[in-house]
């Protein structure tokens, strides 16, 4: 699977850029996007991550989280959403006006609902 054709020519696929569509679950993404449409505005500049209070103490990365949500990778998301302190710094630095705090809250909510089969 790991780039079988590319290997022959000396190329490999970077694991972090690999999207596994079999494991992808778009329900969380749809839940978040429907309730917080500004989520779509994110262009992954990383400003939120640079300023993040929680990110200074733990591997919490809002930009990476957004990617997880978009790709539907629920497992790595599960633990990550609980680390946010909701302090709102990301809200202020976001150049696109994404309501970041609501994105995190909604993602956490969506995962809870997913576990209860309510989504």
């Amino acid at each position: 699977m790991n780039g079988s054709a590319g290997n022959k020519f000396g190329f490999t696929v970077n694991r972090s850029r690999l999207i596994d569509y079999d494991a992808s679950d778009r329900l969380v993404r749809d839940y978040v996007t429907l309730r917080e449409p500004s989520f779509r505005l994110c262009f992954a500049c990383g400003g939120c991550t640079a300023t993040c209070t929680a990110g200074q103490h733990a591997p919490f990365n809002l930009r990476r989280m957004n990617t997880f949500i978009r790709r539907g990778e629920i497992e790595p998301l599960r633990e990550e959403v609980t680390r946010c302190m909701l302090c709102g710094k990301c809200l202020l630095v976001c150049p696109r006006g994404v309501n970041t705090r609501n994105v995190v809250s909604l993602a956490a909510e969506a995962i809870k609902k997913l576990d209860r089969n309510e989504l």
Binding site: T51, H57, A58, M85, L86, K89, G97, N99, N102
Partner: protein, 631 residues
Amino acid sequence: MSSDLFVIPFNIGLYFILVYSVVRSTIWFRQLSRSDKLRLQRGFFGMPFMQSLKEIFMESLLHRKIFMRNPVLGYMHMSLAFGWFLLIVFGTIEADFFGEKHLNPPSHAIFFRYFNPDHGAAGLPKVFGFWMDLLLAFILSGLLLAMIKRFIPGLMGMKKTTKHTWTDRIALLSLWMIFPARLLAESLTSGAHGSGSFLTGNLGAQLASFLPVAELAPWFWWLYSLSLGTFFILLPVSRYFHIPVELLLIFMRNSGIRTGDKPSSLTEVQTHACSSCGVCISICQMSYAAGINDIQSAYFVKGLRNGKDIAAITANCLMCGRCEEVCPVGIELGPMRMIERRQGEREFKPMRFIDGYGLNGKKAPVEKDPTQSYGYLVRNEPVKADVIFFAGCMTHLTPSVIIAMKKIMDSAGVRYHFMDENGGVCCGRPLMLAGRDREARELINYNSDIIWRSGAGILVTSCPICYKIFNESYYLDTRVMHHSEFINHLIEEGSLRLGYLHRKVVYHDPCELGRGSGIYDEPREVISYVADLQPATQEGSMSLCCGGSLGNLTLSSGKRALIAADAAKILTSSAPDELITACPLCKKTLGQATETKVADIAELVAAALPGPKGRARVRTKKTLVRVHDNG
């Protein structure tokens, strides 16, 4: 006696509402906590009872607070409440003195003219009849205003009025019917008997000239009785239940019962005490600046009362506290919304007529999550210091404030430890505002540990959001000061030598510092010490929210910008050189919304520090301070 069957609807309604009120109050009383029960019992035999009587007269009858805010609206409420009250009192007196016997049933006073059609021809009864007509005219004038307000709110100085449920509508209709029905019934009877005073007598004579008044009169007595009966029976399921409940609320409040942070019977009493007057809608910045007209406190309380799903309404609020400040009933709207946010997700079932109203939708128990969310936080060795400086997350986004604070503290020779210099941990207030107390408590414990072990006597913070939670939810043996308080303390102590800046400045009260924590004077004293402080249009307890509030969880950045632009426009209307605030979040939000320079109070003071060559003239004596507070 067959002809006075018409009193039956009235009697049914009256006795129903009396019994219902007693039963409901008893249930509420039984649900109170033990200490609140004691408070209420003690209040009943002491000063609170007298205070409550006074407040009931001033607020529930005269509607003083609404009157001060909007005289026309105040007159409308007063004429209906006070006028009706007087009509009942004097009606009872009239029936008692001039009726066949003393101590009549209530229906005899209410339908006095029917039972005594020839009454009031001359002498004292005539004067009394005149007075009763005057009261009726007084009520009818208020009713006219109420109708105008319902259809053209703008004429009453109201931006919006509340939308009604169907029970509200029927109750409103029956309320509107009561007094015109009484007027016509009395006039027709007076017309048939040639009695009545200036209103009923004249109208009756006019009607008698072309109508068979004697035949028509009973129909209108029936209508009068029916509308009264309908109104009384619908009272518990409509917004008009506020009439009896407000009395209970005033008494509970004066006895010292507070909302607290858990649902109790006081929250239910407050839910029913809201009259949906709509003052909170007109005052709400989200309404007039951002055009959001369905989340205001009146709707929040109404949703709560009717057991609706109000999760979206609950989350979409700036928590600025302006509505609580103006609420004529004095409902603690902020704490009530916080309780609702803490409840977590609710489980909704369709409302049933009997047990649905009043008793809020059944709530799913808040899940107790045993895992720690912030277990990753490492406990560092604490630094011993006298003064701890906690900048706060937001202040780290306005480094100029931190630089200014460092300058000020160095200049005053304060030995301090900068607690979150290399990135601290959030104070927990944003989580608390989101209703996530358990997580907030983890952060509180982490920060408390550092503060306790440092042994500091004073904790200075630059952020009002942190200030509020440090004061309210931390258990500290440390004096918590906002930096405006601390600077004021340094000036008063004489350790800070400052020059005077010839600048016209306007001060903006941050919500969490002003209304939230009651700090209005200290920042003003500091500012007027170093610059020329001008009064703002809306300040003190009625100051505006900058729009950046962390209390709102869902508001979009576009709407936030609208609120900020509106607030900045009002604040800079007197064209000051600088707009001063005491909150990094306000500075950030307002700074983007106006051309005027927005600075923190610490920056202003730092600018007034004498230069290295000591050229700035240093003042040694504190001058008279002007404090503007129109709240």
